[in-house]
Symmetry: C2
Subunit: 301 residues, 2 copies
Amino acid sequence: MSLLVTGSIGIDSVKTPYGVSENCLGGSAIYFSLAASFFSPVRLIGAIGPDCPFDLAQVFAGRDVDLKGLEKRPLGKTFRWKGAYHYTMSEAMTEYVELNVLGEAPPPVPAEYRDSKYIFLANTAPALQMQLLEQMESPVFVAADTMNCWIEGRLDDLKTLLRKIHALIINEDEARMLAGEGNLITAMEKILAMGPGIIIVKKGESGSIMCCRGGEKFIMPAYPATEVKDPTGAGDTFAGALMGYLAKVGRTDFAALKTAMAYGNVAASFTISDFSVNGLTAISINDIESRLENLKRLTQF
Amino acid sequence: MSLLVTGSIGIDSVKTPYGVSENCLGGSAIYFSLAASFFSPVRLIGAIGPDCPFDLAQVFAGRDVDLKGLEKRPLGKTFRWKGAYHYTMSEAMTEYVELNVLGEAPPPVPAEYRDSKYIFLANTAPALQMQLLEQMESPVFVAADTMNCWIEGRLDDLKTLLRKIHALIINEDEARMLAGEGNLITAMEKILAMGPGIIIVKKGESGSIMCCRGGEKFIMPAYPATEVKDPTGAGDTFAGALMGYLAKVGRTDFAALKTAMAYGNVAASFTISDFSVNGLTAISINDIESRLENLKRLTQF
């Protein structure tokens, strides 16, 4: 099934206890597409400015990632983020965010993309996520991410979006904030009542949890990575492998969703093993499969 | 196999978003013994003062918990703790701790207890833990807990203890502190090099991880509890059910340890469902077994 992602393409600067990476490739659509392309062709929608130093055709060389939706805006500037992670690296400390082209109207959806069946709306203003979704003819499975600033500042838009998507994939603290509830499982159940049939909460090094409207739940610890240099992009990698696997098998039943989460989990463990996208570009699907088998061994009792 | 625990018996006062419980029964040895007694007879060593308002014979009525090691000190005062949990309830804020009898020499080990094979040394000064352990004739499997104050203030004693025990069962932050290492898995591997063949790290609502010297690892998410009123005693309940199961089956191989951790996990989910020990005293082994089956369903993929 065709898979479309819309999200950021960024110039990141990151500092962690393991080093510094200045002006490196980042952005949700980049991590998502790299991870998803292990499983399925990907259609990417995103915008950059002339300051973007990366040759994205080269970045995705050898992968089935369609860049027709990549818009180069002569008058815009590329999204930039600078942040740091300390000690346990569980949380990014943002030094600055420059939205730049991300703050403008999103790129139009190319005509060839409008029949996309699996859609991932990476974090951005909920109104823009909806604007993109409305251009789709017959989506089968739509997942979205969001973050605290939209929960605080654009809650009405977000609630409208929640009624139009199948799955919400967000962080732990955002789930609590959105539901206004400290208990995570209860918070997830409250979010299901807002619209999506599936909520998946990312808990960083503590794994992820899925709750479905039918009552099914799945809990998965994170892959026990000892090599952790830079957590940037872990969440988008998780979503990318998850959606890539679903698009590949063309199913979104509970069993498929569980396997998809497991692929997301191990794919993210490679992303965090190096700066920028280097952990993802260095591996093959065989590395992912082998780590998935290991994850099964680590969690069975 | 005989199972012995030494730890605190306390008068707790706890405040959580769900209510207040003043001067209620608490202490590591209490939670441990209640949880372990679902699986195995327990021998308890602990001390109280004349101010202790609880009839412990009544608390353990109908359970095979031997109280010969319970010392009532006419001149001492019972251990007291007062604390609060906020919002996500992931961390206790201590208002006061009165060590009282816990700060004095520990009770002697009754002659009838000295042949105990499975031993749990709940958190106290490492020198006292060793003093107790030295009175044992032929322990088969010794596990211990410790906390930040001993890592900071009694590190030499603690390192000596680590060479005498089989398993260390501690919290996440303490593992990082003890190893001087931010990556949890690497921290656990460093702790294995200090002596114990097994380290189990408790991560609260994010579950637990075990690393063994042979390289085996096991990762388990916490049972997804929606009813969480008071997390006090969850860690000691975890250790109690874990050690109780091991003592029952008389094995400490990797498979047995994994199952033991799963029992610890679900037993703790009952403890946190109510204040004090009420969550544990209200259930039967059937409730634990049924939740264990559910945990398997929740984690398999």
